[in-house]
Amino acid sequence: MAKRTRALARHHSQSPQSEATDDDKDAITSEIILSPTTSVSLINAEIVQILIKHENSAEEIRRLMDADLTYNKQRLEIIREHAAQHPDAIDGRKAKQSRRNQYSVLLGLACILLFTMPFVSLAVAAINGTIGTLIVCGILVNARERELDLQGFLKLINVVVGKEK
């Protein structure tokens, strides 16, 4: 984990143009950048002051702090999950083009399985259908622009601080 953190720190300190391959340009931002021992809090005194100035009620601040607690809980969960992996394991699946190729192959396989369903016995058709369902669900869940999640989180924060309903 520490090795991974150091590598990421080096990566972020470099200029974007320096030795960036096409693959690197396509890379999804890494998910973990801090070690588990680092004390992390989403809310600092400055943010709380801003919220007080904006006349937000104590209830809203409490909800924001609850969100902070949940964030940290999930962050530690991610760190625990990734600590068991080799540091290169996450880098190995980062290129968008390779993901697209994988999804195309999997979709092709799902189409073949679904088209053969009517022509095989029901037991085999059920297995084909299950594999096809898994492929379609997996692609639906994973093949999306994860940057959109950021917009969702921004909307959530706006709702919490009472700027949006």
Binding site: T29, S30, E31, I32, I33, L34, V40, L42, I43, I47, I50, L51, H54, Y71, Q74, R75, E77, I78, R80, E81, M117, P118, F119, V120, S121, L122, A123, A125, A126, I127, G129, T130, T133, L134, V136, C137, G138, L140, V141, R146, D149, L150, F153, L154, I157, N158, V160, V161, K163
Partner: protein, 91 residues
Amino acid sequence: MSFRTRFILLAVFNCLEIILSLWLLKSRFNLDLSQRLIDLDLNTPHGFQLLLGFMAIGLIGFLVNFLLLSYRRSEFTYDQAISVLKAGARS
């Protein structure tokens, strides 16, 4: 939910779904496992019910698989979350 838990749940659910659904269709609709979907006679209630049962099980399987796969960890980095929080506080 961790990746391992989701993986095990997916595997168990799909195995159980196949076994239970085939057993249910066999016991209720006298399903012959060697029968093919293309051979089903949809003009008879038996064939039509069999096809509907098969599709209903498929739909349930799709929904459960989708929920299990989408019940995943948050993928925000700390820096992203901080910038979003600050933007939210400013707006």
